[in-house]
């Protein structure tokens, strides 16, 4: 299936929004390498970071086939306003373990639902890749859910910290659902089949189910997502410092092999 000219830009936006979320989440996860609260979780977060960054790379390669760019250049060579990430992946976790998990709770469930939609895409390269990624991402969801439940039902301190982290991040959770130009075209062309509204309900139901089991709760604005503009290139003040750190080596000599 060839991509019609009017779909090229929206499709690139879709691929970038997913890849950018994954790249930044991967970068945030990798902060825990060497600093995890227990050895297993130190390994787990390093591993999660590898998964997310590998997924981002594959998606940048796909986007690069549309734009004629290399994956590394897309990932590292863009200024902040060309990123299409959601605000929730940009904010730092300040090395608070509960915050890292709360973020993953919102993002991982969203990611699986988004990948499952793409796994039905009429565009085969996206469909094949999404099927494979969804299988890997389901393991992330299992991991996150079991920790949120474990901490929610643990000690008064673990419950209180988990709840505070969820309270702090919940207002940003719906930034994942922010729409962008041309999204409807992709849905109509069945490149990104399905609709955001049942997906939003499913997501909310899943999150609420986990939080119920954990004895925790989240206040999420139901209805129209609060548009902070991440998908349009309007970002939090946290993105630029994150990119400055992540792209430091690349910027010294773009295109160098290492």
């Amino acid at each position: 299936m060839n991509i019609a000219p009017n779909l090229q830009a929206p499709l690139t936006q879709l691929l970038l929004s997913i890849a950018d979320d994954k790249l930044l989440l991967g970068a945030r996860n990798s902060d825990w390498t060497g600093l995890g609260p227990i050895l297993e979780e130190d390994i787990a977060f390093s591993h999660l970071a590898q998964d997310e960054i590998a997924h981002a790379q594959a998606l940048y390669e796909l986007a690069g086939e549309l734009t004629g760019q290399k994956a590394d250049d897309i990932a590292m060579g863009r200024p902040a306003h060309e990123f299409r990430s959601a605000a929730i992946v940009e904010v730092p976790d300040e090395f608070d373990w509960a915050t890292a998990l709360a973020r993953k709770l919102f993002c991982d469930h969203f990611d699986v639902l988004r990948l499952e939609r793409m796994a039905n895409s009429e565009w085969k390269p996206l469909r094949d890749l999404a099927k494979r990624m969804a299988a890997e991402e389901r393991v992330h969801v299992e991991h996150t859910d079991s920790w949120v439940i474990r901490l929610g039902r643990g000690t008064p301190q673990s419950r209180q910290r988990m709840q505070s982290a969820i309270d702090a991040l919940a207002p940003l959770a719906t930034t994942l659902f922010e729409p962008y130009d041309g999204l409807k075209l992709l849905v109509d062309a069945k490149i990104y089949p399905g609709s955001d509204f049942p997906m939003y309900d499913q997501w909310l139901q899943q999150i609420t189910g986990v939080l119920d089991q954990a004895g925790l709760h989240a206040t999420i604005n139901v209805g129209e997502p609060d548009d902070k503009g991440g998908r349009r290139g309007v970002h939090t003040e946290h993105l630029k410092p994150l990119l400055d750190e992540m792209c430091e080596v690349y910027r010294i000599e773009p295109g160098a092999a290492w």
């Binding site: 390994i43 590998a54 094949d128 890997e136 393991v139 079991s146 039902r153 643990g154």
Partner: protein
């Protein structure tokens, strides 16, 4: 002129760089074709997206198949259709991994779900999960998932309560 069997036999000698199993037993090979009598195309399925071992495997395949008499070129292609799953690992492959302390999810089994978490008010540590994965050393099913993330992206870590050994279990994908 190389036959498909010659090529498969050569591929059986290419090991996974991180586990004691050949890439054929691992289920990586999706298709082998001979073009124009001497050009070989090998289509392989990546286990995990972006796995750092993929480049090494592709290099080993090129070297091994390229050494077969009558082969002029080897083209290695990674494809995602069908997606690789642990169900593609052969019986012999499963046996070889088990002998080295790595178990493989049963064919058709599902990802274990976090349904066994029991915890009451004040209990300091709730067991993450219990499982029915048998220990490769003693066969006991009294094993627990220590971490769904192990030394490589395809492996998880389990602990056997009976013989008190840790062992690895491939991730259910």
């Amino acid at each position: 002129m190389p036959t498909r069997d010659d090529i498969l036999n050569a591929l059986r000698e290419v090991p996974d760089p991180e586990m004691p199993i050949s890439i054929v037993d691992l289920g990586l090979i999706e298709a082998v074709r001979v073009h124009d009598g001497d050009g070989v195309e090998v289509q392989m399925l990546p286990t995990f997206i972006g796995c750092p071992a993929l480049d090494m495997i592709a290099g080993d395949v090129k070297a091994k198949v390229g050494a077969i008499a009558g082969v002029s070129s080897v083209d290695v292609r990674w494809v995602f259709d069908p997606p690789w799953t642990v169900d593609r690992i052969s019986r012999a492959g499963r046996e070889s991994l088990r002998a080295h302390g790595v178990t493989v999810p049963d064919r058709g089994s599902r990802l274990p779900v976090a349904g066994h978490i029991i915890g009451a008010e004040g209990e300091p540590l709730v067991q993450l999960k219990t499982s029915a994965v048998p220990c490769p050393y003693c066969g006991s099913r009294s094993t627990t998932l220590e971490s769904p993330f192990g030394p490589t992206r395809c492996r998880t870590i389990y602990y056997c309560e009976k013989c008190r050994n840790s062992f690895e279990h491939l991730k259910r994908v």
